[in-house]
Symmetry: C2
Subunit: 122 residues, 2 copies
């Protein structure tokens, strides 16, 4: 599967709210996930670690709606934009409904996503 085809299938799953399935289907075993912050959440590696990140996200946020735009492709990379309407359950903004937008930049090798790198708006 070439990067453009993978990018469209991945994005379609996200648009349908199937974020877990998108990861299950396309993450490589040693996939790396990078967030623009310091500390232990900045880098996770391996499918189990990324599944844990996802579980943490769902446990700690009430999700009112999401939308996914893209993909935008260049060579073996593609970008997707996520819009989220959420209420955090924990942390400094607990209980405050907020709208967030972020960009995910994905790197593909041998038909699998080997890295996801998130860019934050605001």
């Amino acid at each position: 599967m070439d990067t453009k085809t993978l990018a469209h299938e991945f994005t379609k799953l996200c648009q349908d709210g199937q974020f877990d399935e998108a990861g299950n289907r396309f993450w490589s075993e040693q996939v790396v996930s990078l967030e623009p912050m310091e500390g232990e959440m900045a880098r996770a590696q391996g499918r189990k670690a990324l599944e844990g990140k996802g579980q943490w996200w769902y446990a700690n946020h009430e999700i009112h709606s999401t939308s996914t735009e893209g993909p935008y492709v260049h060579g073996d990379q593609f970008a997707v934009r996520f819009n989220m309407d959420i209420t955090p359950k924990t942390g400094d903004t607990a209980g405050q409904r907020i709208q967030m937008t972020e960009v995910g930049l994905y790197t593909v090798k041998d038909g699998k996503i080997t890295e996801e790198r998130f860019f934050y708006g605001g």
Copy 2:
């Protein structure tokens, strides 16, 4: 100037339609520009080459409107989304009004943009 501040100033100039000024102010001397295609347009290097790319773009497209969204920041990189309503003057789609969306991924070093990499939708 840190990457987040630069990203916001660059994006504001693009939102105001001042694309040339955004480049003038923030490109490094040896900035590299990468497009997702084969051939001589795939890679350009140096401010003069990028200025030439811009001149070629304006000469070959009628621009009805543009909008710029972002920035989205991660470390020394930021992403911006461009929406364009244009009519190409040359090539296979000459005379056809089209709407395009692309993502620009910018890498910053020492307060200057050292690389721009474009991702295409569709």
